[in-house]
C-alpha cells in the first residue's frame, strides 16, 4: 500500500509538473534567479576569501640580528618561535643569503657593489621573516620577541623587530580584514534570507492556484500524505530544474567575469574556481533547490489541508 501510494504520488508529481505549464515556467524562472543569487554569494565569498588571504600573506614581521649573533642562538630562537601557536612560518635568511639577495637586488648599481667590495666583512646580519596565522596575532609574536631579548640577559642578538615601525599599518589592516569578513557574512545571510522568502512565496502562489483542487481531494477521502505528496514532488522538481539552469548559466557568466575579477581582486580567477569546485557548487545548489522547493511546498499545502 505504501509503495503503491508512493509510486502514484511520484507519477502525479511529474504529470502536474508537465501539465501546469505556465505556473511551472514562472516558478522555475524565479527559483533560477534566486538560486543564481545564492550561487553568486558562494563565488563572492570565495573571491573575498582569496583576496583577503593574498593581503594577509603580504603582511609579515622581520627580525634582524646583530652581525655577531651566533648561528646556534638564532636557530634556537627559530625553534622557540615555531612552537608558538600563533606562528604560521619562520623563514631564516642567513648572513650569506642576505648578502647574496642584496647583491642580486643591486646588480645594476655598480657604486653599491664597489662599496661592498671595499668592506672586509659582510655588513648584513641574518634575519627572520615571520608569518602569523592571523594578522591580529603579530602583536603577541612581537611581544614574545621583546621578552626573549630581555630574558637572554645582557647581550642581545636581536638588532631590530620591524613590527613596531609597522604596528599601526598592520593593526589597521587586520581591522579592515575583520570588518570585511563580518560585513560579507552579514550580506550573505541577508541575501540568503531574501532568496528563501522569494522561493517560499513563489511556491505558495503556485499552490494557491490549486487550493480548490486540494479541498476536492480531501472531500473524496484522500489522506493528507496522498494530497500533499505530488505537490512536494513538484516543488522538488522546480528546485532541481532551477538549480541545473543556474549551474549552466554560471559557465558563460564566470568566463565573462574571470578577467574582470582577476584585475579587480588581484589573482582570484572566478572561472577556475567554478571549474575546480564544480562538484561542490553542484551539490550545494541542487540540495538548496530540493530542500527549498520541497519544504516550501510541504508548508504551503498545509494551509489548505485543514478541511
Amino acid at each position: 500500500m505504501f509503495w503503491m501510494n508512493t509510486k502514484r504520488i511520484v507519477k502525479y508529481g511529474f504529470i502536474n509538473f508537465w501539465r501546469n505549464g505556465f505556473v511551472t515556467l514562472a516558478s522555475i524562472l524565479i527559483m533560477t534567479v534566486t538560486l543564481f543569487i545564492m550561487g553568486s554569494l558562494i563565488f563572492l565569498g570565495a573571491i573575498l576569501d582569496s583576496s583577503l588571504n593574498q593581503i594577509k600573506n603580504k603582511v609579515d614581521i622581520n627580525v634582524y640580528f646583530v652581525t655577531t649573533a651566533p648561528e646556534e642562538d638564532i636557530i634556537s630562537l627559530k625553534s622557540s618561535l615555531e612552537q608558538l601557536s600563533e606562528v604560521s612560518s619562520v623563514e631564516y635568511v642567513s648572513r650569506e643569503q642576505a648578502i647574496e639577495e642584496f647583491k642580486k637586488r643591486h646588480e645594476n648599481d655598480q657604486l653599491i657593489l664597489q662599496a661592498l667590495q671595499e668592506l672586509d666583512d659582510n655588513p648584513l646580519g641574518a634575519h627572520f621573516n615571520i608569518r602569523a596565522k592571523e594578522t591580529s596575532q603579530y602583536e603577541s609574536i612581537a611581544t614574545f620577541l621583546e621578552n626573549y631579548q630581555t630574558s637572554s640577559g645582557g647581550v642581545s642578538i636581536v638588532d631590530k623587530v620591524n613590527f613596531f615601525q609597522n604596528k599601526i599599518a598592520i593593526e589597521k589592516l587586520s581591522n579592515i580584514i575583520l570588518s570585511i569578513d563580518k560585513l560579507s557574512f552579514g550580506v550573505i545571510i541577508v541575501f540568503m534570507i531574501i532568496s528563501i522568502l522569494i522561493i517560499f512565496n513563489t511556491i505558495r502562489l503556485a499552490i494557491y492556484t490549486s487550493r480548490e483542487e486540494i479541498s476536492v481531494m480531501k472531500l473524496v477521502g484522500a489522506g493528507n500524505f496522498y494530497v500533499r505528496g505530488p505537490f512536494v514532488i513538484e516543488g522538488i522538481m522546480y528546485g532541481v530544474s532551477s538549480a541545473l539552469i543556474a549551474l549552466a548559466l554560471f559557465y558563460p557568466v564566470t568566463i565573462w567575469m574571470a578577467p574582470l575579477t582577476e584585475d579587480f581582486f588581484g589573482g582570484a580567477n572566478i572561472f577556475n574556481y567554478y571549474v575546480n569546485n564544480f562538484a561542490q557548487i553542484f551539490v550545494v545548489l541542487i540540495l538548496s533547490g530540493v530542500f527549498l522547493g520541497g519544504v516550501s511546498s510541504y508548508l504551503a499545502v498545509k494551509k489548505y489541508l485543514k478541511i
Binding site: 503503491m4 502536474n16 480548490e212 481531494m217 473524496v220 477521502g221 489522506g223
Partner: protein
C-alpha cells in the same frame, strides 16, 4: 465515539444541530432529522435557509456549535482527522460547481477517487471506464474538464462520486448550472443510483426535479425544518 441512540434503520441522524457563525448569524437552529437507508431525500429552501450548511456538517467540513451528527452509529464530529478521511470514503459528493480537478482528464478525475481509497491499479482500470460508460461519457474518457459541457461535467462529478460505491450520495444543487434537458438527465441518474441501493440526499431549487422524483421532501427556512413530507412536492 458516542453511539446513535436513534432507531437502527437510519443511516444518518442530525440531533438538534445548531450552527452559529457569529452571534447573530444562525445558519442552523436546532435541526433534528433522520434519514433511512436507501432513502431519497430532497432538501429544499431559499438561499441561506441552511441546506448547504447541513450537508457540510454531514461531511465534517464544519463542526456544529451544538448538537450531534451520526452516521450509522458514529458521532461524525468525534472522529479524528485520519478517521474523517476513511469516513468520507463512504459518502459520494456532487456540487453545483462540479469541483473537478482541472489538471486531470475525465479518467484521472474518477481514478483519483479510487486511488485515494487505496484501490489496486487493476481494479481502477476495470471500474473507471465502466462508471464513465454508465454516465454516458465513454467517448470523453481522455478529455479534460474544460473540454466538457456543463451537463458532461456534472455527469463526470457523479461518476467520481459513485465509483467507490458509497453508502450515501450527497448532491448539493447539482442542476443549478444546467439547462432543462441536462437537469432532467441528472435527476434520472440520481434516481437510478438510488434504485441500486444508495441513499441520496439532494438539495435543489428546481421545482420540476422535486415534483418528478416523487420522494421525501424536507423544507428548510432560516436554519429550521419547517416541513417534512413523504412523497412531497415543492412548496415554499
Amino acid at each position: 465515539m458516542t453511539e446513535n441512540p436513534k432507531k437502527n434503520g437510519n443511516i444518518i441522524h442530525f440531533d438538534n444541530v445548531k450552527k452559529m457563525y457569529m452571534e447573530n448569524a444562525i445558519a442552523l437552529d436546532g435541526v433534528t432529522l433522520s434519514i433511512g437507508k436507501n432513502e431519497f431525500v430532497s432538501i429544499v429552501g431559499h438561499s441561506g435557509a441552511g441546506k448547504t450548511t447541513l450537508l457540510k456538517m454531514l461531511l465534517a467540513e464544519e463542526k456544529p456549535t451544538d448538537g450531534k451528527v451520526y452516521f450509522n452509529t458514529t458521532d461524525v464530529h468525534s472522529l479524528n482527522r485520519k478517521n474523517i478521511t476513511y469516513y468520507r470514503r463512504k459518502i459520494g459528493t456532487v456540487f453545483q460547481d462540479f469541483r473537478l480537478i482541472p489538471s486531470k482528464t475525465a479518467y484521472e478525475n474518477v481514478a483519483f477517487a479510487m486511488e485515494a481509497c487505496g484501490r489496486e491499479d487493476r481494479e481502477i482500470e476495470l471500474d473507471v471506464p465502466y462508471v464513465l460508460d454508465l454516465v454516458d461519457l465513454g467517448n470523453k474518457i481522455w478529455n479534460f474538464p474544460n473540454e466538457l459541457s456543463g451537463g458532461e461535467k456534472q455527469r463526470l462529478a457523479i461518476a467520481r462520486a459513485i465509483v467507490n460505491q458509497p453508502e450515501v450520495l450527497i448532491a448539493d444543487e447539482p442542476t443549478g448550472n444546467l439547462d432543462p434537458i441536462n437537469t432532467y438527465e441528472i435527476a434520472q441518474i440520481l434516481k437510478k443510483i438510488n434504485n441500486i441501493g444508495t441513499t441520496v440526499i439532494l438539495t435543489t431549487h428546481n421545482k420540476g426535479v422535486i415534483d418528478s422524483l416523487n420522494s421525501r421532501v424536507v423544507t428548510m427556512e432560516n436554519g429550521k425544518i419547517i416541513r417534512d413530507n413523504e412523497n412531497g412536492k415543492y412548496i415554499i
